[in-house]
């Protein structure tokens, strides 16, 4: 079931990307969809880290790949002028685009590397979740407003 959700989420993100490129979907919605996808994938890993789900390297790699997909496209959805609206993106993103992109690149690299070397046991998943969580926090600390 979780797998179906993950696949569906990935498909939704992918089709939304096409829609965005065609100018049909706004940037803020795209950002939200992307982060939701990352959250779903993180949930798969956290369940393994907590021992709520058996550790499954294949599933973990899948989750990491969907995170990586979002990481690779996420930067496209911050055009000038998309700071206003129903968003928690901080104006700091546009003031310091280089810094923001640096954090995004770290997420791209971290998820790509981890997907190639998927965790095989609970301790490894816990370590991975800690590492990824640190990345999430690092970016949300600076580039998201309080919410």
């Amino acid at each position: 079931m979780k797998r179906i959700i993950a696949v569906a989420a990935a498909a939704a993100i992918a089709s939304a990307s096409v829609a965005f490129a065609a100018g049909h979907t706004d940037a803020i919605t795209m950002r939200k969809n992307g982060m939701q996808g990352v959250g779903l994938a993180m949930g798969t890993l956290v369940a393994m880290a907590k021992g709520e789900a058996p550790v499954d390297a294949k599933k973990a790699a899948g989750a990491l790949k969907s995170m990586n997909y979002v990481a690779n496209t996420f930067g496209d959805f911050f055009p000038e002028g998309s700071a206003d609206g129903d968003t928690t993106a901080s104006p700091k993103i546009w003031e310091d685009m280089a810094g923001f992109e640096e954090k995004l690149e770290a997420l791209q690299t971290d998820t790509a590397m981890a997907a190639m070397d998927a965790p095989q046991d609970q301790a490894a998943v816990q370590e991975l979740v800690g590492m990824l969580g640190k990345g999430c926090k690092g970016c949300h600390e600076e580039y998201r407003i309080e919410k």
Binding site: M42, G43, K137, E146
Partner: protein
């Protein structure tokens, strides 16, 4: 120019005198300071993380042992002006290395500097004042073990009337109420521990509760922990009461896990100024995080977002 009527001058003198008397700093008495023992640095370390000292006084984005270097210098940009956090390291020249335990207790429990001046409540002594004198002694014992950082900082840049520090005396008279019970005394020991940590050293209510007097007043106890405006920058600090607008859907385990890892039950991560707070909470014993979680499920569920 016409002379001001004598009665007006008289009224001004009386008002000035009243201001001077009412705004006078009130340090701890000898009796109150009698509980100030040598303190236990190990116990003090827990209070150090619970109190979040490093969030404002260590360098920005620091990790590991750098969180123990309390040179200050953060610029807190608020509506009242810019506060520059002071050096509270054990350096005698630029820090607080030459303070006595009583000086430290007066700062924490009364918001008064060693020279007897009022400190600005950007330093959350209104919550710290709920701590026990024994805990202050333990915290002081720990603070003295931390490295000296020689780093003088710039002063605050505040606009009038916030630049008049004596005015804080009146603010304290109106809004500093460490004896007011925010929540009733719990019978459950774990909840009682959580209550102490949240209402005292943790000073969660300082940001998570709306304030009276258009945001410049005290904490609105009737809307305790129901959220408020971000003290710096855009956005809102969330409602953390167990209501639909708060974290009512979170279990105690969810709250503990969030405080430990920074991940919400929806697998979002902590962000903004809460990142540093969560990093501090992660350093507490697990039982303390669980106590905080139990307390947050026990308090009155308030709706709204504190606006």
């Amino acid at each position: 120019m016409r002379k001001a009527p004598a009665t007006l001058v008289g009224a001004a003198i009386i008002a000035g005198a009243a201001f001077w008397i009412l705004s006078k700093p009130q340090p701890l008495t000898d009796a109150e300071l009698s509980g100030l023992s040598a303190g236990d640095a190990t116990r003090g370390e827990t209070l150090f993380w619970a109190g979040g000292c490093a969030s404002c006084h260590a360098g920005k984005d620091t990790e590991g042992d750098n969180k123990l270097k309390l040179g200050g210098g953060h610029r807190l940009v608020t509506a009242a002006g810019t506060f520059v956090t002071p050096n509270i390291s054990s350096d005698a020249g630029s820090g607080i290395g030459d303070w006595s335990g009583a000086d430290f207790a007066n700062a924490m429990l009364r918001g008064i500097s060693p020279s007897g001046a009022h400190l600005y409540p950007a330093y959350p002594y209104t919550s710290y004042a709920r701590m026990s004198v024994a805990d202050i002694a333990d915290l002081w014992a720990f603070m003295k073990t931390l490295p000296a950082v020689s780093q003088p900082n710039e002063g605050n840049e505040l606009s009038f009337p916030f630049s008049i520090s004596r005015g804080i005396g009146l603010w304290k008279l109106a809004y500093m109420e460490p004896d007011v019970e925010i929540t009733p005394e719990p019978t459950d020991e774990r909840i009682a521990r959580g209550r102490y940590l949240v209402e005292g050293p943790g000073h969660c209510g300082e940001c998570h509760t709306p304030r009276t007097a258009a945001g410049y007043g005290g904490i609105d106890y009737s809307r305790w922990l129901s959220g408020g405006p971000a003290p710096e920058g855009d956005g809102r600090v969330p409602n953390i009461t167990p209501s639909d607008d708060g974290i009512g859907s979170w279990s105690e385990a969810d709250i503990s896990y969030y405080l430990e890892t920074g991940l919400t039950p929806e697998y979002d991560s902590v962000g903004g100024s809460m990142v540093s707070v969560q990093q501090n909470m992660a350093k507490l014993p697990a039982a303390d995080r669980e106590a905080i979680a139990a307390y947050l499920k026990w308090i009155y569920p308030v709706t709204g977002d504190g606006s």
